[in-house]
């Protein structure tokens, strides 16, 4: 009995005090300081600091905020509450929407094909580490250049049109899909590959009998999600680079004819298309998970 008591005493007097941390006014601190907790706090502080620095250094060009906000609210009202078409026909708009849709499809198909072969070169479990490193750094570079800049760069040598738009969108899709494809290949069970190797199967039989069957569902799901992104990107390319499709109509209505009501109509068409795509993507995501 005595022994136990003294042991308890030792613990409370010695050990506990050694591990216990108190605040300046003597309260016991609860919760441990972990590396991740510290990193979170540090990141939050840096982000907050940068935000404040940003707001302080921005060149606002003496804009009257209340006036601008008021005008914006009025414009938002005009755009969303009184849409109508004047310069385009409804059929024409739908056709342009289809073009944007198809630009997205083409870029997704090309991106997926390139990404499929490139991901075989850079998935950690099947690729040569040297080649993988090279492919990864090329992909990092490609992804770092914004899509719009790719489109404009291609437009110089290929002319503004579907070729430049598809090439620019493809570059970025491939960069994105290589990453997710190689991740889904890396997730698969290495035993299957090993078993096929032990049987003397070559590289392509391993790819088509083991890798593709086990990751096809993920790959298709990711590809569709990329298509959703490509569709919105294709709209932006039309607007900012004049690469055709409904984005160009949007740009013309807004920045050329200054017709907000026309812009509103086109926005609604785009909005409905994007919502439908998002709903399909959500369902696919739920199915794969």
């Amino acid at each position: 009995m005595n022994e136990v008591l003294s042991a308890e005493k030792a613990v409370s007097g010695f050990e506990l005090r050694r591990y216990m941390r108190t605040t300046s006014n003597g309260k016991i601190r609860t919760g441990a300081v972990s590396r991740s907790g510290l990193a979170v706090k540090l990141t939050l502080a840096v982000l907050a600091g940068l935000t404040v620095a940003g707001f302080l250094t921005f060149d606002y060009k003496d804009i009257v905020l209340s006036e601008a906000v008021g005008a914006t609210l009025k414009n938002i009202g005009t755009v969303f509450l009184s849409p109508r078409l004047k310069y385009d026909t409804f059929q024409g708009i739908l056709h342009e929407l289809l073009i944007t849709f198809c630009l997205g499809i083409l870029a997704t198909i090309f991106g997926a094909i390139i990404a499929f072969f490139a991901s075989l070169l850079c998935a950690k479990n099947i690729a040569n580490p040297g080649i993988a490193a090279v492919v990864r750094s090329i992909v990092a570079f490609i992804r770092a250049v914004p899509t719009i800049l790719w489109v404009l760069i291609f437009a110089v040598s290929a002319g503004l049109g579907s070729v430049a738009a598809v090439a620019g969108l493809t570059f970025h899709s491939a960069g994105y899909l290589i990453k997710v494809y190689s991740e889904s290949i890396e997730e698969m069970d290495y035993g299957t590959i090993e078993a096929l190797k032990a049987c003397g199967a070559g590289f392509w039989p391993i790819v088509f009998q083991a890798i593709v069957p086990s990751s096809l569902r993920y790959m298709l799901a990711w590809t569709f999600m990329r298509f959703e992104i490509n569709f919105t990107n294709a709209i932006a390319m039309g607007a900012a680079a004049g690469a055709g499709g409904i984005g160009y109509n949007l740009f013309m209505a807004g920045s050329f004819y200054f017709d907000m009501r026309e812009m509103g109509f086109i926005t609604y068409v785009v909005f409905i298309a994007v919502i439908l795509l998002e709903a399909i993507a959500t369902q696919i995501k739920a199915k794969v998970k």
Binding site: A39, F58, F141, E278
Partner: protein, 269 residues
């Protein structure tokens, strides 16, 4: 797709697999030809354009001495764009977090409120930032705030949905436990939900900052602000050497940011 169902079918695994591949390839081909016809895309011209484009990039998109004299100006605009992306994302994240509390299953004050939040988020998420940019141009003109609000609306929409999912995932148990101890709503939020979801939320914020740097280039071209405007200016002046320096500076910024966020993600998750 278990072995049992496969064996019960009359076809073998391999011929079934072959059939799946054939059908997939045929569908893709059909889509390809349909899309090419609609967009008047010429595959051979597309292929031929690639080597030409690469040659052009290698011979023209190289910074020269004259371009280097523009470096200070480019870096100034680049800093502005980077700060803008951070400021937009952080501000939108603050709003999105409070809205996500109203939209999440465990913390919503009432079901209609949650529904309203979800619909608002869907609206802001699905109206493309291009629309916001053109719309804001009317009233804000060539101003950094045009880009700010255009990015803010879409970021807010995206983050609200992401945060609702995050809060739903992490909070079910901890909210119930805290309720049982008699914690108030505010205590539940700040002692339960915030600590358990902060790392996930931070990951989303870092991801959106990256995305916004790319988008702000595009918005900049449309609205004449930031680094996008600078690229457009040199590009239209056919000063490709300077334009290439802009591209390179963006690449360096994005890669540095990706590396930093990758490291942070590894530590906090």
């Amino acid at each position: 797709m278990t072995e049992g169902t496969k064996a019960s079918k009359s076809l073998s695994v391999f011929s079934r697999r072959k059939r799946v591949y054939t059908v997939t390839i045929l569908c893709v081909l059909a889509l390809f030809f349909f899309a090419s016809a609609v967009t008047r895309y010429d595959p051979s011209a597309g292929l031929a354009a690639l080597p030409r484009a690469f040659l052009w990039i290698v011979s023209n998109l190289v910074p020269d001495e004259k371009a280097l004299t523009r470096l200070p100006n480019i870096l100034k605009k680049l800093t502005e764009t980077a700060l803008l992306s951070v400021a937009v994302t952080v501000t939108a994240a603050v709003f999105a977090f409070f809205f996500s509390l109203m939209g999440s299953k465990t913390t919503r004050p009432s079901e209609p409120a949650a529904k309203a939040v979800r619909i608002t988020a869907a609206f802001f998420r699905n109206v493309p930032d291009v629309v916001w940019a053109i719309l804001l141009m009317f009233s804000f003109g060539q101003n950094i705030l045009t880009g700010f609000f255009a990015l803010f609306f879409t970021t807010f929409g995206m983050l609200t949905r992401a945060f609702i999912e995050t809060v739903d995932e992490v909070s079910a148990d901890c909210v119930e436990a805290l309720h049982a101890t008699g914690a108030t709503y505010m205590q539940t939020v700040f002692q339960g939900i915030v600590p358990s979801s902060v790392s996930e939320i931070l990951t989303w914020v870092l991801f959106m900052i990256e995305t916004n740097i790319r988008s702000s280039t595009l918005i900049g071209i449309l609205t004449g602000t930031g680094i996008g405007y600078l690229f457009d200016l040199y590009y239209k002046r056919l000063d490709y050497a300077s334009a290439s320096l802009v591209v390179l500076s963006i690449v360096v910024l994005v890669i540095v940011l990706e590396t930093i966020t990758g490291k942070i993600r590894k530590v906090i998750l």
